[in-house]
């Protein structure tokens, strides 16, 4: 105990003397510090985000087949082509429906997991890790596991083996779109890989709710369980929920990896907007003009949806203005 006290005193003394010293070097130059820390990221942002966006907008007005430095200006023809003579509009519609389903589902599952883990008295760290671990798996690896082990169409796939015990014939989950079993594969994969991450966000938010609120509610006669959750927990999670929904929404429109590996590009269903742009610009067609036009449309759409969501849910607004 005495050692601890001595060290504590010494540290306090040092802390007290520091303000009286003249501030020198980097510590004294706030502007330099700002650029030192943000500069590299800003440069990266400009080079890898803003320049490509600008280039993409420029390309979208040119005939850019097999080149990213075209010279033939064609106005809005690429926009017309991507909106009228491709599967891109269908993919936008499909993924609006997909987002409408997957966003609330993931939100509810993540929140449910966070509430369960938060309730635990023992092994909380263990279960937190168990639910979070899938986040570390890449979508590509997970897609291959889902496709080649769990949901193959042959008799030794896990899902078909289990169904076989009940006399159900083998199901081709991914090749056959009627009925659309492929959504089962996609949704289970996405929930498995995403929920743990958002659970951690909710868990952090739950642990930030002051215990006094619950105590006060109990004194006022609020029943534990649904009533407390409805009138205390949920409102306190509003900011986190808004951020989670925003991130989920963007992730839904930006889906690519698992769809590319599970459904492949040789389908007309479950093609994400990014897959359609990939097909237009890379891999096969090499039409960077049409692909860029689609990218501009998709970016605008994500901006509009994000702003609308912010307007509705109050993301970025100060607490006092809510």
């Amino acid at each position: 105990m005495s050692t601890t006290t001595t060290r504590g005193v010494a540290e306090t003394a040092a802390a007290e003397t520091s303000p009286s010293r003249p501030r020198r070097g980097l510590r004294s130059n706030a502007t330099l510090n700002f650029w030192l820390f943000t500069g590299p990221f800003l440069i990266g942002l400009v080079i890898f985000v803003f320049v490509p966006i600008g280039w993409s907008v420029w390309l979208s007005f040119f005939d850019a087949r097999y080149t990213v430095t075209p010279s033939h200006f064609i106005g809005f023809d690429n926009y017309k082509q991507i909106l009228t003579n491709s599967n891109f509009p269908d993919s936008l519609l499909t993924f609006t429906v997909f987002a409408t389903f997957i966003v609330p589902t993931t939100w509810a599952l993540s929140l449910g997991l966070a509430l369960l883990v938060n309730q635990l008295r023992f092994m909380r760290a263990f279960f937190r890790s168990v639910f979070f671990l899938p986040t570390a798996v890449s979508y590509v690896a997970a897609a291959l596991i889902w496709k080649m082990s769990l949901f193959t169409g042959v008799r030794f796939g896990l899902a078909n083996t289990v169904l076989g015990w009940f006399g159900v014939d083998n199901i081709a989950y991914l090749s056959n779109p009627s009925p659309p079993w492929y959504w089962v594969v996609i949704v289970t994969l996405r929930l498995w890989i995403q929920s743990g991450f958002y659970m951690i966000l909710f868990l952090a938010a739950l642990q930030n709710i002051p215990a006094e609120l619950y105590e006060a509610a109990e004194i006022d006669g609020a029943k534990r369980g649904w009533q407390t959750f409805r009138y205390i927990t949920l409102p306190q999670l509003r900011a986190t929920s808004t951020a989670v929904i925003l991130l989920l929404l963007i992730a839904a429109y930006q889906a690519f990896d698992e769809f590319y590996n599970l459904i492949t590009t040789k389908a007309t269903w479950a093609q994400t907007p990014l897959m359609e742009l990939y097909k237009a610009a890379l891999g096969t067609n090499q039409d960077y003009g049409a692909g860029s036009a689609g990218a501009v449309i998709l970016s605008l759409l994500i901006c509009i949806v994000t702003l609308a969501q912010g307007k509705i849910m109050g993301f970025g607004r100060g607490e006092e203005s809510k």
Binding site: V68, T152, G153, A172, N176, T264, K266, L282
Partner: protein, 421 residues
């Protein structure tokens, strides 16, 4: 927290470590396997791109040939995965573009000036090549690629399974449907045409007596017989008698070898592996005719070598391509016959290919000769993708083939206008 306090890490040591890693990264980028240089030859550095062939030993073979070339350092990028095209085309836009690459003849590559005219190196031996291969690489009298291998694709079948089910080898698409039904058991599916059916999309057209484009480069696939063929394919797809979602796709022999299906669409390259697994219990037949006026068909796939015309070493690349794919007949023979089987496009090499002279390989060569359909340089990737959509919409999803073909026509016509004005 105590562990952190007792750690030897300080801000300075972390900074030094970070700086060291950055320096090491920079140095690593200067050397090592960066795709440039590193060969045994002297002079220029050349890079060649190959997609990953499935047969064991192919990667080592290509690297061995490159190492034997003395006039340039040739390094090989062996690109694994299913998106070789994406990696190739995106790299062609950069300064890291390959000097030499394998692909299929595509008119757009010629029109955009991406591939070099190889007429001067091919002309002296032009007559030794399969005329159809020369034709499929020719635009306005100039030859833009050298065929390395021809890969016919047809159906393989297990003789014992057909005998047990009392099924004859199908000669029409209707008979294939009946055969698939009779061959299907609780453990074995009748037929495997690939997980998405696109490998046979050209065959439905050819077997129905039509073609992708006609001699004037206009749409030739939209006929009543093709519509009928697509409807029959839909019947087959939804019958429950086809193998779908298999762990490996059509180009891999595993499904037939492991007894998951009785009939499988595949390529000649798989024949050695199938014969090793199944012995004499193996037969082949072409895609059967569709309708009364049809004719059986075989897809003649394959790969060709191209020189990047926008590269910095065009002449050196042409010299290497000439050395390997014109002069070195022993390597060409080794490449075509020592791993999977492929038909050498050069008559003089094919004539010496004893492995293809008898038995099942000889039958495959006969199918190739009698029923083969070669690449059409004007039928490009955009058009192939449009036809993929027809198979997806009307065969796999059960939509109206006429409507799907109408949508395909629109896309193909836009592409034809871009190519031919």
């Amino acid at each position: 927290m105590s562990a952190m306090s007792n750690s030897n890490w300080s801000r300075r040591s972390i900074f030094r470590a970070a700086a060291g890693m950055a320096a090491a990264g920079t140095l690593a980028a200067c050397g090592g396997n960066n795709g440039r240089g590193g060969g045994s030859g002297s002079g220029k550095n050349l890079v060649q791109y190959f997609h990953a062939y499935g047969e064991a030993g192919t990667e080592q073979a290509i690297k061995r040939y490159a190492k034997a070339y003395s006039k340039a350092n040739v390094s090989t990028s062996w690109i694994t995965g299913t998106n070789f095209e994406a990696k190739l085309f995106s790299s062609l836009l950069t300064k890291q573009a390959p000097d030499v690459f394998e692909f299929h003849p595509q008119l757009q590559l010629v029109k955009s000036g991406q591939v070099a005219d190889l007429s001067d190196i091919i002309d002296p031996v032009k007559d030794d090549f399969n005329p159809a291969d020369i034709n499929s690489h020719t635009v306005d009298g100039k030859i833009y690629g050298i065929r390395m291998i021809d890969d016919p694709q047809f159906f393989y079948y297990r003789k014992s399974m057909l005998e047990k089910a009392k099924v004859e080898v199908p000669t029409t698409l209707d008979e294939l449907l009946e055969a698939a039904a009779k061959l299907t058991t609780s453990k074995v599916k009748g037929v495997n045409l690939g997980n998405d059916f696109t490998p046979v999309q050209g065959n439905v057209i050819w077997s129905a007596g039509a073609d992708t484009l006609d001699s004037k480069n206009q749409i030739a696939y939209h006929t009543d017989a093709v519509v009928q063929g697509i409807k029959q394919l839909r019947q087959l797809f939804s019958s429950g008698h086809v193998l779908l979602d298999a762990p490996t796709d059509w180009w891999d022999p595993s499904s037939l070898n492991q007894g998951l299906c009785a009939i499988q669409w595949g390529g000649l390259w798989s024949m050695p592996a199938m014969q090793k697994a199944l012995g004499d219990d193996l037969g082949i037949f072409p895609f059967p005719k569709v309708g009364d006026n049809g004719k059986p068909s075989v897809t003649n796939g394959g790969w060709s070598m191209f020189v990047n015309a926008k590269g910095e070493n065009v002449e050196a690349a042409k010299a290497y391509v000439k050395w390997l794919w014109i002069d070195q007949k022993k390597y060409q023979e080794d490449w075509a016959l020592s791993y999977g089987f492929h038909i050498p496009p050069r008559s003089s090499i094919a004539a010496q290919a004893t492995k293809l002279k008898s038995g099942l390989p000889a039958e495959a060569v006969k199918l190739f000769t009698d029923y083969g359909h070669f690449d059409n340089i004007a039928w490009d990737q955009t058009m192939i993708t449009a036809l993929n959509d027809v198979i997806a919409s009307s065969v796999r999803k059960g939509g109206d083939p006429e409507a799907a073909l109408d949508a395909c026509d629109k896309k193909v016509n836009v592409e034809l206008k871009k190519l031919f004005g």
